[in-house]
């Protein structure tokens, strides 16, 4: 949940003209926020682009080096691999999270007491830090001493994090465990906003629950699906803590994503130039993905927020 796609917020023009002469005082009110955000948000964003054309080892001076860092990164076979892993985890976690979140959201949307109680408990994984979740699962899945070592748990006894394929699957499961609660909450709100008259009308036409779900609920959730997917996709690009603590990119480099590659290149191998180039790629992929999803949603520049 670290990032959100930029939703375009529109302000009505009629109100605009009224504001007229008092704007001076109002601009002052934005300055503290603007200064803070510029210093530690905008400047670093430009800074990372600038640093990608330099060489810096964290201790010595920063030296301009033209395209050296970029050619090094683009020629490195690690980059396509990290891109592939990033997209694999992104795609798989979308496939797992979206249908489950919709189903749970629809389930929670009904006004029943025990479902309200469930909604409260469903939210709990979001309270844990990613570090705590990673450590919890790491111990739980330990092949020798974890849950699989108990009597009758033979099926669970696997080297979950030591096998490349299994590790990716486990990671997707944990990401889903952590974030389905958030997305199902968004869907719950959206389902409650669907006019009940639509269901009443379909009931007269003799539509059953399944039919109602596919003919009314899903189409009505269209924009919510776009919003939720954007959050999932951009969110999975920035997944760092969980993977870093759980597998540190391993085994081998089976779970080495772009964000992790950037951290390792910069802060462990002390190659800040190439790491900055990877960071720029990370920003670009994020922007492209969120624009693409926006187009897919078919609403152009309109507010995405309405769909939530």
């Amino acid at each position: 949940m670290t990032t959100l796609a930029p939703p375009a917020v529109r302000v009505s023009e009629s109100r605009a003209t009224r504001a007229g002469g008092r704007s001076g005082a109002l601009i002052w009110l934005t300055l503290p926020a603007l200064l803070m955000f510029t210093a530690f948000g905008i400047v670093p964003l430009l800074g990372v682009l600038a640093l990608s054309f330099t060489t810096w080892d964290k201790i010595g001076p920063i030296q301009p080096s033209g395209l050296t860092s970029w050619t090094a990164v683009l020629r490195d076979p690690d980059l396509p691999h990290a891109l592939w892993v990033t997209f694999l985890i992104m795609g798989l976690s979308w496939l797992v999270q979206t249908p489950l979140s919709i189903l749970i959201g629809v389930f929670l949307a009904a006004h029943k007491r025990y479902r309200g109680f469930l909604a409260v408990l469903y939210f709990v994984p979001l309270l844990f830090s990613s570090a705590a979740i990673a450590i919890m699962y790491k111990s739980l899945l330990d092949p020798n001493f974890g849950v699989g070592s108990g009597p009758g748990m033979g099926l669970l006894r696997q080297d979950w994090l030591g096998d490349s394929t299994l590790a990716v699957g486990v990671l997707v499961f944990i990401v889903s465990w952590q974030y389905i609660p958030f997305h199902s909450l968004i869907y719950q709100g959206a389902v409650r906003a669907i006019p009940t008259t639509m269901y009443e009308a379909s009931l007269i036409d003799g539509a059953g629950r399944v039919r109602q779900f596919f003919s009314i609920t899903l189409p009505q959730l269209r924009y919510t699906i776009v919003t939720s997917s954007t959050l999932m996709v951009v969110g999975s690009l920035t997944l760092f803590d969980l993977i870093y603590v759980l597998t540190a990119g391993g085994p081998g480099d089976a779970t080495l994503t772009l964000a992790l590659d950037m951290y390792k290149t910069g802060f462990q191998a002390d190659l800040m130039g190439p790491a900055s180039a990877i960071a720029v790629i990370l920003v670009l992929v994020g922007l492209i993905m969120s624009q693409l999803l926006r187009r897919l949603g078919g609403r152009g520049d309109e507010s995405q927020q309405e769909g939530m």
Partner: protein, 275 residues
């Protein structure tokens, strides 16, 4: 009718099954934290301890837990209070001065901020902190945390301030109130629920933050809880009960806060973010 009932039953079963998926790892962590290392290896992993012990909690507390806890409190409060305050002022100005060219550009800057991933800018942030001679201090974590809490806070708060009837602002103005007065005496009380939601949300994000403390601090004295957890894991090795106790102990404060602010947070998330 029979068919409808049956589907409802399936939905209910699925709902409880999902609860099991959500709760099982948490249950495991909590019961394990009360076991001794010796009994942990010989008893059924999912069975509760026959003789619960608090030893693991003592181990964690002795390994500096209180210090890390206080660091997290300082970082969270030190970042959230200023972030929400300046975001509230900015949101007010953006809503009240809608149409002004400058304010519109400033709003776009904040919206752009929603798309900047923290990880992507962590290298320049590191450089800035070094140059400011703030490396390995809590302030080094606080400053970027404030910056990255601002965009979403401005967005959510602006959406709420927009709902305040314009007539109220106009009548304050007729009475001769300044923007500053209107901001605090009218907009502030009316948007309090949104302020609470934004505060809780930011506090949760910053409390759980990992990459900033990882990159910007070095000594154990400046560790926050998520980072402390990570180091506990190394210290305790395969002493899983101690690791489980550290996970439980670091999560208890958030669970308590959730128990208190649950209604506000859940309704704020479904309504506030959905505006």
């Amino acid at each position: 009718m029979y068919r409808l009932l049956r589907l409802n039953w399936i939905g209910g079963a699925f709902g409880w099954l999902w609860l099991l998926v959500v709760m099982l790892p948490i249950y495991w962590v909590v019961i394990t934290s009360f076991k001794t290392q010796a009994t942990y290896f010989i008893t059924d992993t999912l069975a509760p301890p026959a003789e619960p012990t608090l030893d693991n909690y003592r181990t964690v507390v002795e390994a500096g837990f209180i210090r890390y806890f206080l660091n997290s409190v300082v970082v969270s409060a030190g970042a959230v209070i200023p972030a929400v305050t300046v975001a509230f002022m900015a949101a007010y100005a953006i809503v009240r001065g809608a149409g002004n060219r400058w304010l519109r550009s400033i709003n776009s800057v904040f919206l752009l901020g929603l798309a900047i991933p923290l990880q992507a800018v962590v290298i320049p942030v590191y450089l800035i902190i070094i140059r400011l001679h703030m490396y390995d201090t809590l302030a080094a974590i606080i400053l970027p945390s404030i910056a990255f809490a601002i965009p979403l806070s401005v967005l959510v708060l602006a959406n709420f301030i927009r709902d305040v009837p314009r007539e109220l602002f106009e009548s304050m103005r007729v009475d001769g109130a300044t923007e500053w007065g209107t901001l605090w005496r009218l907009a502030f009380p009316l948007t309090r629920p949104a302020l609470v939601t934004v505060t809780i949300y930011n506090a949760l994000t910053i409390w759980n933050g990992f990459i900033l403390p990882l990159v910007l601090t070095q000594t154990p004295d400046q560790r926050t809880m998520p980072l402390a957890l990570w180091t506990y894991q190394g210290e305790f090795g395969i002493n899983f009960p101690a690791i489980a106790a550290s996970v439980t102990l670091t999560t208890i404060p958030i669970i308590v806060a959730y128990a208190i602010g649950r209604r506000q947070l859940l309704s704020g998330l479904t309504a506030g973010f959905g505006k």
